[in-house]
């Protein structure tokens, strides 16, 4: 007997095929296609050519996707409404192609472009990439030595990074919770893998991958449970539906509040906000430095983008409920990040705690929840976008420098071994000092403008006590950035002192780009700030 629900009395009406605006989604689709092509290359291209083909494919694909992003961005129509917003919801309501989405697409694509140059660096390891040759070989085994002798490389890292990039682009643009969850997983899974593929210190790298995977899976479960509760409250997955339910309904608030809290855990884990930050130092330290750079910059953009969209669009009507929670988390994040960074003796861990502190500063901007007025003042969304831009470039630059300060056993990440770097190589040390000053928010660097933007947005949004705490935390943070500079320039080197390896054009280009962007955005921030401002609000 067939279940009555499986059959219907008459032939069911045909399902209309969905309308998908492929043009608006073209940047996403280009990157996805490049990732798939990369997997094909792994299967069919001869081994000797794979690295070259993969590099060219990844970089070429990103450039094409960037061009597509510019094209989409220029074609955005102004949406109707009180506040300035451009764009529309496409693909049956799954993706919102609006100003912030396109801005973040461009941003993660640029970060991915420079990160791919770091991925492609082969001069530092004697002609091999920074990734292990044979991930299945146990660390320190004969098999591993064999892999090095035969000079094999894992070129799969390029398609994996492309898949992560697709996730990073889809996550902040997703307009319903299901798509957002899928994007979160697409973004995370390749990163878990990439973290475990370092060529040196492999046990540390594998441990970091395992930790990131377990904790990440845990946070995804929280996110999924939150989605279920919010669905129970609103009766729909679309952010617009949830917004309507939040604005219209007065009963069933419990489900909404629990859902908001659980979903906040998911996104706050991804940005590394306290108390969900525990993975950050271990993973940043263990992962291959190129991956750390990509992850630090890209994941932050994607996760903050999704956080903004989730809390401003879907839960915008309940901002009085979630803002106190954000206050607490922002203060905790800034304080813990800044204070813990002071005690670090490892450069990569120090940068990890610094990234936690910066997540706190960005959260200040988010907490302000300032949607702007008629006159051109900086809104929360545009200030966060600008901060992410300046933070991302400085971070990638700083990690690029970490890859070239080396000794016989690989990267020298002990901070004490960096003493005297200023004498060894004034240019490299000078560049690193510039990034430190930008992180500290010293005027004439991009970091200052970024901090000014998020603080002013939070001030306009009425969160002035938070701004006061943030300024104090920046002072604490500045102390350890200055300590790094003092170590590099004014401390006698111990033993042989650090040595700076000569990288290929790729890494050099990354450092130069990061330096130029950091200085330019500090001196003439206007154009980028205007661009972030003209991105406008989210459409729904």
């Amino acid at each position: 007997m067939i279940h009555p629900l499986l059959v219907s009395a008459s032939a069911p009406p045909p399902i209309d095929s969905p309308t998908i605006q492929y043009g608006d989604l073209s940047p996403l689709l280009v990157v996805a296609a490049v990732a798939l092509l990369g997997v094909m290359v792994e299967a069919f291209a001869p081994r000797a050519l794979r690295f070259t083909i993969q590099t060219a494919l990844a970089i070429g694909g990103i450039v094409v996707a960037l061009a597509a992003t510019v094209w989409v961005g220029l074609g955005l129509d102004r949406a109707s409404g009180d506040v300035l917003a451009r764009g529309r919801v496409v693909a049956e309501g799954a993706v919102a192609v609006d100003g912030p989405s396109v801005f973040m697409w461009g941003l993660v694509l640029l970060f991915a472009l420079v990160s791919m140059l770091l991925f492609a660096e082969r001069r530092l390891e004697g002609g091999l990439s920074a990734f292990t040759g044979q991930a299945a070989a146990p660390p320190g085994s004969a098999m591993e030595r064999e892999a090095v002798e035969h000079r094999i490389e894992h070129t799969e890292v390029f398609p994996l990074a492309m898949f992560a990039l697709v996730g990073m682009m889809l996550f902040p643009a997703a307009n319903d919770l299901l798509t957002m969850f899928v994007a979160l997983e697409v973004l995370s899974l390749p990163l878990y893998l990439l973290c475990g593929l370092a060529r040196r210190r492999r046990l540390l790298s594998q441990e970091s991958a395992m930790k990131y995977f377990l904790l990440g899976a845990f946070s995804s479960a929280f996110f999924a449970y939150g989605i279920a509760l919010v669905y129970g409250f609103a009766g729909g997955f679309g952010l617009g539906d949830i917004d309507q339910a939040v604005s219209n309904r007065i009963d069933g608030q419990n489900l909404l509040l629990a859902g908001i809290a659980l979903m906040a855990v998911g996104v706050m884990f991804k940005v590394g906000a306290v108390p969900f930050h525990a993975w950050t130092p271990d993973v940043y330290q263990g992962a291959p430095t190129a991956v750390t750079a990509f992850m630090a910059a890209g994941t932050k953009v994607a996760a903050f983008g999704a956080m903004l969209r989730l809390f401003f669009v879907a839960f915008g009507g309940a901002s009085w409920d979630w803002r106190p929670m954000f206050w607490v988390v922002a203060i905790l994040t800034m304080v813990v990040g800044a204070v813990a960074a002071v005690t670090q003796s490892d450069v990569k861990r120090m940068l990890a705690y610094s990234s936690i502190a910066h997540a706190g500063f960005i959260l200040v901007g988010v907490t302000g929840a300032f949607v702007g007025t008629r006159d051109a003042s900086v809104t929360s969304v545009s200030s966060v976008l600008f901060y992410l831009t300046v933070y991302g470039f400085s971070t990638i630059g700083a990690f690029a420098i970490v890859t070239i300060v080396r000794d016989a056993s690989g990267e020298t990440t002990q901070l004490s071994r960096w003493a005297g770097l200023g004498r060894e190589s004034p240019l490299v040390a000078g560049a690193f000092a510039l990034f430190m000053l930008a992180f500290a928010g010293i005027p004439l660097t991009s970091g200052f403008i970024g901090k000014w933007a998020v603080f002013s947005a939070a001030w306009s949004g009425g969160a002035w006590p938070l701004v006061v705490v943030a300024v104090l935390a920046s002072v604490v943070a500045a102390s350890f950035y200055v300590r790094v500079i003092v170590t590099m320039f004014f401390t006698e080197p111990t033993g042989e002192g650090p040595s700076v390896a000569v990288p290929s054009m790729a890494t050099t280009a990354v450092i130069v780009v990061a330096v130029v962007v950091t200085v330019l955005l500090g001196v003439v921030p206007g154009p980028v700030l205007d661009l972030a401002q003209s991105a406008g609000a989210f459409v729904r």
Binding site: L189, F233, L255
Partner: protein
């Protein structure tokens, strides 16, 4: 309602068992109980497609994979329960219970809003309703799941696949190498002696006896020897019996505990 109240306690108990069971196999079997109960709940809620998928995909495919992995790892393998961080289990318990109570209170008090009802969702049949959602509203999400699956496949290959870097030696080359080695070092080209087979012990951990009564070290796997689980001599049973028969007989100490190498002169295979 009856289905729910029957299944819910079973599911909760089984889920607790998944976490608390010491042996991984027990956890896996209890997980199967949870999954099957969940499937029945789906069926009773008017979601026959989900019911079938839950049984076929989760209980059928994924659980079997779990069990395969467990069989490969070893059924008896159990996790170390030593706390590396002091007081961690206690803290986890407190935090977990607090969270659980909070969620139960919040969700329990929740008022579920106006639901459209299953009747409308299943108006043209359950499968039709699902298809209409999957191929229109959520088609993009479903398509991007492909990226997830490809990542998983590529990742499994990267992490687990070992490429053969030196060509495999053929049977002929291997035997030529063995005889060459025999000519040069005198190492025996044949297989190692088998372990001892006796009335009381016919296990791999019992060494074979050489003609002079001493056990041959080569007849037991070196893994067992490294673990120290090789039976040393026969003091325990044969000797005891002999002593009982004739306490003065000096041969009753047959098979002393000093193992001697086998007569072939073959050295230990590395």
């Amino acid at each position: 309602m009856v289905t729910f109240w029957t299944l819910a306690p079973i599911m909760v108990l089984a889920a607790l068992g998944v976490v608390l069971a010491r042996k991984a196999v027990h956890s896996a079997l209890l997980l199967a109980v949870v999954m099957i109960s969940l499937a029945i709940t789906y069926a009773s809620q008017g979601a026959p497609f989900l019911f079938a998928v839950q049984i076929i995909v989760y209980t059928g495919a994924i659980m079997m994979l779990f069990l395969f992995v467990l069989m490969l790892v070893g059924v008896d393998a159990s996790d170390s329960l030593v706390e590396t961080i002091k007081g961690q289990r206690m803290m986890a318990l407190v935090v977990g219970l607090t969270f659980g109570v909070l969620v139960v209170l919040v969700v329990g008090q929740g008022v579920v809003g106006v639901s459209v009802g299953l009747g409308e969702a299943n108006a043209n049949g359950n499968v039709y309703g699902l298809a209409a959602l999957m191929f229109t509203k959520y088609v993009l999400a479903i398509e991007f799941t492909a990226a997830l699956l490809i990542t998983a496949a590529v990742g499994a290959m990267v992490l687990a696949h070992r490429e053969r870097l030196v060509p495999r030696r053929s049977q002929r080359e291997e035997s030529a190498r063995r005889l060459q080695e025999y000519a040069e070092t005198g190492r025996h080209p044949g297989p190692l002696p088998t372990p001892g087979v006796y009335a009381r012990h016919n296990a791999v951990d019992t060494p074979a006896l050489l003609p002079d009564g001493s056990p041959s070290e080569l007849s037991v796997s070196r893994v067992l020897r490294a673990r120290g689980s090789v039976r040393e001599g026969f003091e325990g049973d044969v000797g005891q019996t002999l002593r009982q028969l004739d306490p003065d007989d000096p041969t009753s100490t047959i098979g002393g505990s000093t193992p001697r190498r086998g007569g072939s002169g073959r050295t230990e295979e590395s």
